[in-house]
Amino acid sequence: MMLLALLKKDFLIVKKYVLIMVVVAALIPPFMRWRTPEFMGDFGFILSVIFSVFMLLQYVSIKEYQFPKAATYLCAAPFSRKMMVLSKYVFCMVIYVLCCVIYGIETFVLPGLGALDIKLFALMFLAISAFIGIYLPIQYKLGFDKTKYIFAVIIIFSPMYLPVLMRMKNPGLGFHSVLPTYFLYSSIVLIGFAVLAISASLSVKIYTKADLA
């Protein structure tokens, strides 16, 4: 119940952007299919997930940064700090699931996007779990401002390391289609959950010891 209330809070404080994100998440896959037909709709789905999760999480963080005492007030109410942290992870996962649903519907409506691919969802789940698994504990430890700069530096230097990654054997965008078993993908999903669980417990530990604003 409390987790739901906190989840609702996150959506309420960024409500202006949620609809825009839904529209963007729906438009990216067909657009990318048009621009990069060799990747079917996969590339578009990947971009829509990264864009939606990252941008909405950023907007929530900006609002929390803008009104730091609001979180303090919630903690003075019976909301536990653990729930406050967990709600952020659930928030990201809800957006991810929303992206999957939108893309799933699109694959039925727009045949050019290719068939609905559970393997792609599993791989993207791991990727997004890894991203928020790293991002959120850093943000809880260093605060929004410093984390923003760290990730800005990573993005600025991405032209240096991305080509190296691209040159690596099996660059990845289509490799999931040749992997053999569902067992492998179940394992990937489990690893994703493990990453989230470890990251969440670390974030809870950091936030529990923090002096609130």
Partner: protein, 285 residues
Amino acid sequence: MNDILTVNGLNKSYGDFYLRDVTFSLPEGCITGFIGVNGAGKTTTLRAILGLTTKLSGNIQFFGLDFDKNEKQIKDRIGVVLDDGCFYEELSLSEMKSIISSAYTSWSEQDFKRYMDMFSLDPKQKINTLSKGMKMKYALALALSHNAELLIMDEPTSGLDPLIRSQLLKTLIEYMKNGGKGVFFSTHITSDLDKIADTLIMIDNGRIIFQEEKDTLLDTYRIVKGDSQSLTTDVRKLFLSISETDFGFTGLTKQISEVRSCIPDVLIERPTIEDIMLGNIGGEK
């Protein structure tokens, strides 16, 4: 009379500021004022007892329950008003309420509506369009709508005009009449405490200076005014603080009979809480 809050040996460091062995208790059925100048440690103490900031050591009990072990249960039974509202300002009043209300097991929609009507607040209004006084009223409406047994407020009257301060104090008195077990509020506006407080706790430089019933406190101290020439070294020791001008001196003392016997020709007045607060912080001697 039972204590509804007991703080024992609370220590906390905040940069170069320290709370040192803060110990006090709140008796049931009382409005307790927590006084001190800006930076004395009032907000830090309140935050530490609400678990919003980590403490180095100390034991905190609400309603006889250990705070560390029963945090959720205790917070369900107390209402909190923090300084300047502390809301997501872009939300409407009803949106913010919908978040907060789900945290409390005894939330009363009826009480909330009554307070909203009483304070003339529109649920559809955005929080960032409210004045400081209206925000404080809204915070009070939220804090009083879940059958809280204890109300904790951090500087609730700071920066408010006299009319709103008066309404707020009236609401606190009504809350106590309607079954509230206690109010604990920090302030540096001591005139508010003159009107409603039963007990006073003073903090300065991170240390508790006194905890006393207001009437006893006002009976204990006296303001003395007289000629500065009568202030010998021994007489000065009888005062907590003395300020001198070309026309004479004004001092605060707890030893009125000794002062009277040393300098009979003095004017003696009953002090205000502010006089006592300032006298205890220290003045010229």
